[in-house]
Structures are given as structure tokens and as C-alpha cells.
């Protein structure tokens, strides 16, 4: 039981990172029906930006709270700018044309981000400052919980809460939801579709960057290829929850994190992907729209 709970703690921590990236997939998908394959690589960019600030620029020596604020906020802004650039140059011209062409472009952007990062930051593994946050923790019964885990999960929850508040509470958020339901009707209502798309890309990139920095702090090591697996897991999470559905992405992320932790713990790390995809496919066979997705009735 103790072991099980220990795996649960690990799973929830990692799952909250996945959930953040999955939200990015889901928001963008909800609005333009594009699977932005570069989402995971945006996390990687965020992680490297954070590393540059903390290590190369030496901000790790600032007071801890200041260092953390800088290490999160600046990468989030920087990654958002990158994502807007991608939208503008690569996706925008294809938006109303071939879906396959835009998918290939997204895969191409993923490749491009990885190789650009390799060029800028090198192919070596880089390390976050190992003792940025206290490494210690405490025991709840037999389960060991670290302060880092608490801090990171709290931060993810805050970000998710912020996103939900934005989507539910603001005019822009309402426009986003309207657009996700019916593109044409929303356009007729006078919604500035381009602006909403831009906001979705900004939000997606900010969440991805935040999760990248968190991964850096949690695992310490970062590498220019780290975005692939992260993106894959997050994409799986988004589909598991029902792509386009915000609570679905969060739950999906946590579930994937847990699944991964249990598989690694009880079985072996080599079977991780098989179990994760196996569960995904089983869920989709039983419920083809994902856990929270709604079936859209065909109208004529």
C-alpha cells in the first residue's frame, strides 16, 4: 500500500506537467482543429530559456522567489512569442486549406524547433541548479513527499485554475468557447477569430513553457529532444480526456502520469508506452470521443 501511494505521488507530480502541455493541445485543437505537434517542443524551449536565465545569467543566485518568478515568467513570454511566430509564418497561410499540409507543417516545426535548439544550446545534457528548491521532504505515514513536488503541483494547479478562470470569466474566454462549438456562428456573431486564435497560441505556449521549467526543476537534466516524449504523453492525455475539452485534458494528464508511474513501478520502464497506448486505445474503443468528449450529432 505504501509503495502504491508512493507511486501515486510521483504519478500525480509528473501528470500535472502532462496536464499543462495537454491543455495547450486541447485549446489550440478546439479552435482550429490543428494538432500542434510542436507543443512538446515548446516546453523544451521554455525549459532551455529558464536554464539560460538561471544558470548562464546566474539568476539562481538571486533571492529564491525572485529567481523563480524570473525563471517562469520570462520563458513563458518568450515561448509565447515563438509560438505566435510559428502561427503567423507557418500555420496562418495554410489554415483554410489542406489539413494534411498543415499537419506536416506542424511536424516540420517540431523538427525545426529541436534542431534550432540543438544549434543554440548544443547537443549536451544541461542541468538545472540542483538545489534551487529544498530537496528535503517529509513523511506522511510511509509515503515520502518532497517540497519540490508540493511546490510544482501547486504551481500547476494554480496555472490550470488561472486558465479555467480565463476561459470561463472573460469575454475572450467566452469567445474561445463559442468558437470551439461553432466556427461559423461565432464569426457571424462578430467574434474576431484571428485574435482568438492568437490568444489560444499564447496560452498554449505559456502553459507548455511553465511545464518545461518545472520539468527542469524536477528532473534537473534537460536535453533538446525532451519535448518529443513530453508532447507524446500530453497529446495522449488530451485525446484520452476528449480533445477540445479542458477538464478532460487535466484529468487525462493526471491519469497518464499515474499510469506511467504504476507501470514503471510494478512492471518495467520498457513497457511504459505499450501500457499507456493500450489503455488509450481501449478507452477509445469503448468511448470513441474520449472520457469527456461529447459526440457531435451530424446535422444536414
Amino acid at each position: 500500500m505504501g509503495v502504491f501511494l508512493q507511486y501515486t505521488v510521483i504519478g500525480l507530480t509528473v501528470g500535472s506537467f502532462y496536464a499543462l502541455v495537454a491543455l495547450g493541445y486541447t485549446i489550440v485543437y478546439g479552435i482550429i482543429r490543428l494538432i500542434n505537434f510542436a507543443q512538446g517542443d515548446l516546453s523544451m524551449v521554455g525549459a532551455f530559456l529558464g536554464w539560460t536565465l538561471l544558470v548562464s545569467f546566474g539568476f539562481e543566485h538571486l533571492p529564491i522567489y525572485l529567481a523563480l518568478v524570473i525563471a517562469f515568467v520570462v520563458p513563458m513570454i518568450g515561448t509565447a512569442v515563438v509560438n505566435l511566430g510559428i502561427l503567423q509564418f507557418a500555420y496562418k497561410p495554410l489554415l483554410r486549406r489542406s489539413l494534411l499540409a498543415i499537419l506536416i507543417t506542424a511536424l516540420g516545426m517540431s523538427l525545426l524547433l529541436q534542431n534550432a535548439a540543438e544549434l543554440i544550446w548544443g547537443a549536451a545534457i544541461e542541468a538545472y541548479p540542483p538545489n534551487l528548491l529544498p530537496l528535503s521532504g517529509f513523511f506522511v505515514g510511509p509515503v515520502h513527499v518532497t517540497y519540490v513536488q508540493i511546490a510544482l503541483v501547486t504551481a500547476s494547479l494554480l496555472l490550470m485554475g488561472g486558465l479555467v478562470a480565463f476561459v470561463q470569466g472573460t469575454t475572450m474566454g467566452t469567445a474561445m468557447r463559442a468558437l470551439a462549438v461553432d466556427h461559423d456562428a461565432a464569426r457571424l456573431m462578430g467574434i474576431d477569430v484571428d485574435a482568438v486564435i492568437r490568444i489560444a497560441f499564447v496560452l498554449g505556449a505559456m502553459l507548455a513553457a511553465a511545464s518545461g521549467v518545472m520539468l527542469g526543476i524536477y528532473y534537473v537534466q534537460i536535453h533538446f529532444t525532451m519535448g518529443f516524449l513530453l508532447g507524446l504523453r500530453a497529446f495522449t492525455a488530451a485525446v484520452l480526456g476528449g480533445i477540445g475539452n479542458i477538464p478532460g485534458a487535466m484529468v487525462g494528464g493526471l491519469l497518464i502520469g499515474l499510469l506511467e508511474a504504476y507501470t514503471t513501478g510494478y512492471l518495467s520502464g520498457t513497457w511504459e508506452d505499450v501500457v499507456v497506448f493500450g489503455v488509450l486505445i481501449t478507452v477509445l474503443i469503448v468511448k470513441p470521443t474520449g472520457l469527456f468528449g461529447e459526440r457531435v450529432a451530424e446535422r444536414m
Partner: protein, 635 residues
């Protein structure tokens, strides 16, 4: 631009040459081109160039397989490398463990990958297309990891020491030899792919890709066709995999990653989705470009990514896009006299109807004769949330009559059609056709039973010419098998010719033979509706349902429509018609049913309906129908 070119002598000459070439069989052209390429590469290229050429051939083979899934059937597949892996491992293990000859392992590689295609395809058929991306990706990764963890297949080390192919004592062991084997397999793949594309399967795939829902509703078994696509795509991958294994001599799981799946997808999208020469070109770019960029070493992949994105932006349709159009569809068909056409339709239709009636009677069912009940709607209820779109509706339609359903907007007419044709399953109630229940059957099965339909919002296949739209309607009547289509056998050719001829007759039946080669979307609204009618008739239904066929027509066109509807009835086909044009409905109908808020408020002869107080009440004060004006005129 083509039109301008055709004006000039050069353009004319080019057009003539192309036309002549177009009439030589496809296989001969493929062989000529591939032999030329092979001779050129082997005589002028060194070992390095030939090796690259072998890789191009491998990628082209993979591209051809994936093209069936993505380009023809319109399904996304991000895990195609799995088939490549299964083919490679099957062949490699049979050769190293069981010491089989390379060529005898091929059928097994193909068989295994075809099965894998079915395993992947079956559960995913009902998924929405975007989800296919992750499911297929997952399938690919699972396959790779399974090989990685499988001791018998060598685990992470893979299979080593795979022998060369041996053909009656001749061992293929130079790059040139491999290139010849590769081109040979490629030629087979290309010829089969081309044949499939131009068979009824190809048409069915294009239809599904365009509008799966409409395709299913005119008789195309969409799930089966999708499964076929997966299976066939898988088989091609298996062939390529076996070839790859023997050529490399040692395989391991790292050869079959997600990146490879993506590269193969790039091959076809870059080349032009669905286009065979496009696949060759795409494979050339994807394999040769990184070789050319080798000098750049560090930034090679970066430049590749930039070029890829750039090419997609410049040519989203691909380098050599697919053209399916035949502007002169009936070229070379023998002409038929106008009278003859009508007589032949009648004869053919009677033959079909009688055959069906015979089959029906042989199965022990009663065949309704003219005037007896053909369709029974019994207490049908359809509900959307709190809205009862169809509320306990019952009526009978007799064989041979023209039966109309009218009613204010939102009355539930289209919903009722959807319940009859299997598009929606009614919440309660039963629909009997020919005395047999049809509720719960898939739409294409109901078409095969003998019910055809058109749509309120026109749903023609936009990427097909008019005559091909009608040919899709003939889908349920084909008798040829898939292997016949692949080999383009004489039987299949005859079947195709018959289909073409019949589509021409149906088009002349609705008066559209002259525009047969145009794209459906280029026609006027009224003509598009007539194409839909021809498409519905092509399956030789017993009963056709027309949903507002007169919408958007001017008075002359409406007159022609009335004539067509009467002609259809004269063929012995029962017609159910929804329309808002009262004078038209009153003129053609034998009986009329009125639906208001989902409830059947009246049923009777036109004169009875006109004077029915409940009907007048239902229409009173509504401006969207002309019942009010009509009764005013009559008074």
C-alpha cells in the same frame, strides 16, 4: 493556363501526345519508365548513387502503401512504420530461423502485415479522424517496443545475418541487383495501386474521403472500405519491409521509429496526396535531399525542416498533385439513340426489379404488387434532447405511388427520412420495407435493400466529375472482387464499362449527359439536384426519397423536375417527396402527409389536404410557405 497552352501548336501537339499515351495501358508505361530509370542508374551511377536509388525505391514502395490509406481513403496514419517492421521481421525470422528463401517469405510478410492492418483498422474505424493520429502513432510505438522486448526476435539487437535473396541459384548481392529487385516490386505496387484507384474501390474511397456520410447513404460500405485500405496499405508495407531486411542484412527496432512513419507521410504529402508519380517524386526528395545536404552536417536537419515547411507553404497540394478528372468521360463508348436510352433504362430497371423481387420471394417474403403497401412507418419517434422532432408517426406508402410529405419548417420531415434510411436510429417505432424491418441496419445496407435518397442540402462529391458521382451510386451493384480490380481483369473491365454506360444513361434520363465531365460543383443548383437524383436512381431502387428537390429551382426547372418525377414513377419506382412548393406537390402527388411539430396532422389526397382545417391552421401566419397564397388563389 492549360487552356491557353492548348491554343498554341506546341500545346496541341503536347495534348495529342498525352492523349495517345493516355490510351496505352498503364502497366506498359510504368514498365517503360522504370526500366529507363533502372538502366540509367545502373549504367551511369556508382555504388553510392545506386544505393541511394535503392533507398528511394524502398521509400517509394512504402509511400505507395501509405498512399492507399491516406491518399485514397483519407485516413490518417502516423504509425505506418509498424507494417514495415512486421514485414521486415517476418521475412528476416523466416530466413534466419527457418532458412527459407527470400521470395517464399514474401507471401507471409504480406499476409502478416495485412492481418496487422485489419487488427489496427477494425477498432479504429468508428473513431473520428483526428483521433486516428494518436491511435496509429500508438500502434506504431507499441509494435516497435514489442520487438524491442521480444527475446526471440533478438530484443534491442534485432536480427542479424539475414541472407541475400536467391533466385534459382542466382544470388542478388550488389546494389545494382537490389535496385532491379526493388524496381520490380515497385512496378507491381504501382500497377496495382493504379488499378485500384480506377476501380469501384478507388471511387468508393474518393467518395468516403469527400463526404463519408453521403457515400454511406448512397450505398458505399464505408467501414468495409476503410478496413480494406488499412489491410492493403499494410500489405504494401510488408513487401517493402521484407525487401529492406534482406538488403540491409541486419535489422533492429531503431529502424522502425515514429520518425520513419513521419518521413513516409512526408513522402506522400510532399509529392501530392493520392498521386502515384507524386509518391516517386516525394521519395526522391525525402531520400536524396538529406544526401545532398550532407555537406552541411550540423545544420542538415534544420535546413531540411525549413525546406519542408517552405515547400508545404508554397505548394500545399504537393509537387505533382493528383488529377482524377476525365474531361471526356464517354470517349470511345458507342453512341446510343435517344429513344434507345430510355428503352434500355426501362429494360435494365425491370430486369433489376424482377431479379430483386425473385430473390425476395425466394427468401420467403411476400412481394408487394402495385398498389399494395411497400413501406410501413409504425409509431416512429425521434427525440433530440427535449425536442420531439418526430412524434409517433405512422403511415403506409403503396407501391407505385408518389407520396409527398409537407409541413412547416422544423416539422420533422428530414428527420423522418433519416430514420427511414438508417442515418439515424429512431428512439421508438418500426419501419418495414417490403415487409421486412430496416431499423438498425446501416445506410448502405438499406440502399442495397432498395431505398435511395437525395439530400436537402446538396451533398455531391465535390472532387468528382458528374458522371463519377453517378457511378458511385452504382456501387452496390458491382459484382467484381477486389483481386479482380487489382489485376484489372477482363471481367472487371466489362463491369466498369457497364457502370460507365449506365451512368451515362441515367444522366441522359435527367437531361445532363452533356455536362457529364464537369465537376459537380461547377453546375447550377438545379442541375446539382438532378445529379443527386441520377445518383440515387443508379442503384435501381424500389423506393426513392427526395428531400426538397425543387428548392432553388426556377419555374421552368420545376416543370422539368415534375416531368422527371413522373418518368421515375413510370419506371415503377415509388417516390416519396418532401417539398415546400405547394403547387408542385399538389400537381404530382397521389397522396400527401402533413407533419407539424413532429406530429402527423393530416394524410390524404391533394384535394382533401387543401381543404383540411388543421393543415390550414398549421400554415396560417407563416410566411415561409405558400400554402396560404395557394388556398387564396383557389378560393
Amino acid at each position: 493556363m492549360i487552356a491557353q497552352l492548348a491554343e498554341r501548336p506546341v500545346g496541341r501537339a503536347y495534348a495529342t501526345v498525352r492523349d495517345r499515351l493516355g490510351r496505352t495501358p498503364y502497366w506498359s508505361r510504368v514498365i517503360v519508365v522504370l526500366v529507363a530509370i533502372g538502366a540509367a542508374v545502373i549504367s551511369w551511377g556508382d555504388d553510392y548513387v545506386t544505393a541511394v536509388a535503392v533507398s528511394v525505391a524502398t521509400y517509394a514502395m512504402l509511400g505507395l502503401g501509405l498512399n492507399i490509406v491516406v491518399g485514397y481513403a483519407g485516413l490518417l496514419d502516423l504509425g505506418y512504420a509498424a507494417f514495415f517492421a512486421i514485414g521486415a521481421y517476418t521475412s528476416a525470422l523466416l530466413m534466419t530461423q527457418a532458412h527459407w528463401n527470400f521470395f517464399t517469405t514474401l507471401p507471409f510478410a504480406v499476409l502478416f502485415t495485412g492481418t496487422a492492418g485489419a487488427i489496427l483498422g477494425y477498432p479504429t474505424l468508428r473513431l473520428r479522424s483526428d483521433y486516428l493520429a494518436i491511435v496509429t502513432l500508438g500502434f506504431g510505438e507499441m509494435t516497435r517496443i514489442t520487438f524491442n522486448n521480444w527475446e526471440f526476435a533478438g530484443g534491442p539487437n534485432g536480427v542479424l545475418g539475414i541472407p541475400w535473396p536467391n533466385f534459382f541459384g542466382y544470388e542478388f548481392n550488389t546494389q545494382g541487383d537490389f535496385f532491379i529487385v526493388g524496381l520490380f516490386l515497385l512496378a507491381i505496387a504501382m500497377i496495382f495501386a493504379e488499378h485500384l484507384d480506377h476501380s469501384r474501390l478507388g471511387r468508393g474511397w474518393v467518395a468516403i474521403k469527400d463526404d463519408e456520410f453521403a457515400a454511406e447513404s448512397v450505398g458505399v460500405p464505408s467501414l468495409r472500405l476503410k478496413l480494406f485500405a488499412y489491410v492493403m496499405g499494410g500489405m504494401w508495407g510488408g513487401l517493402a519491409g521484407a525487401f529492406f531486411a534482406t538488403r540491409i542484412g541486419a535489422i533492429d527496432p531503431t529502424s522502425f521509429t515514429f520518425q520513419l512513419s513521419v518521413l513516409i507521410l512526408i513522402v506522400i504529402v510532399l509529392g501530392g496526396t493520392g498521386s502515384l508519380p507524386g509518391v516517386l517524386l516525394g521519395a526522391l526528395v525525402v531520400v536524396a535531399l538529406p544526401e545532398v545536404l550532407r555537406e552541411l552536417s550540423d545544420v542538415r536537419l534544420l535546413v531540411f525542416a525549413i525546406l519542408l515547411v517552405g515547400m508545404m507553404l508554397l505548394r500545399p497540394q504537393g509537387l505533382w498533385p493528383r488529377i482524377r478528372r476525365k474531361p471526356k468521360p464517354f470517349y470511345g463508348l458507342e453512341e446510343e439513340e435517344a429513344e434507345d436510352t430510355a428503352a434500355r433504362i426501362l429494360r435494365e430497371h425491370q430486369v433489376q426489379m424482377e431479379a430483386r423481387d425473385r430473390r425476395h420471394a425466394a427468401a420467403g417474403h411476400k412481394v408487394p404488387s402495385v398498389g399494395e403497401t411497400l413501406l410501413q412507418v409504425e409509431g416512429v419517434v425521434q427525440q433530440f434532447g427535449g425536442l420531439r422532432a418526430v412524434d409517433n408517426v405512422s403511415f403506409n406508402v403503396r407501391r407505385g405511388e408518389i407520396f409527398s410529405i409537407i409541413g412547416p419548417n422544423g416539422g420533422g420531415k428530414t428527420t423522418l427520412f433519416n430514420c427511414i434510411t438508417g442515418v439515424q436510429r429512431p428512439k421508438r417505432g418500426q419501419v418495414l420495407f417490403d415487409g421486412r424491418p430496416v431499423v438498425g441496419l446501416r445506410p448502405h445496407v438499406i440502399v442495397a435493400r432498395g431505398i435511395g435518397r437525395t439530400f436537402q442540402g446538396i451533398r455531391l462529391f465535390k472532387n468528382m466529375a458528374v458522371f463519377e458521382n453517378v457511378m458511385v451510386g452504382l456501387y452496390p451493384r458491382h459484382r467484381t472482387m477486389t483481386w479482380q480490380a487489382m489485376l484489372h481483369t477482363p471481367g472487371e473491365r466489362k463491369d466498369e464499362l457497364r457502370t460507365l454506360q449506365e451512368s451515362r444513361r441515367w444522366l441522359s434520363f435527367v437531361g445532363l449527359e452533356s455536362v457529364a465531365g464537369r465537376l459537380a460543383t461547377e453546375l447550377s443548383y438545379a442541375d446539382q439536384r438532378r445529379v443527386e437524383i441520377a445518383r440515387a436512381l443508379a442503384a435501381h431502387p424500389h423506393l426513392v426519397l427526395f428531400d426538397e428537390p425543387a428548392a432553388g429551382m426556377n419555374p421552368t426547372e420545376k416543370l422539368e423536375l415534375v416531368a422527371i418525377i413522373r418518368k421515375i414513377r413510370d419506371l415503377g419506382i415509388t417516390v416519396i417527396l418532401i417539398d415546400h412548393d405547394m403547387s408542385l406537390v399538389m400537381r404530382v402527388s397521389d397522396r400527401i402527409a402533413v407533419l407539424d411539430h413532429g406530429i402527423l396532422i393530416a394524410l390524404g389526397k391533394p384535394a382533401e389536404i387543401q381543404n383540411n382545417p388543421a393543415v390550414i391552421e398549421a400554415y396560417l401566419g407563416r410566411e415561409d410557405d405558400d400554402m396560404g397564397t395557394l388556398t387564396a388563389q383557389e378560393a
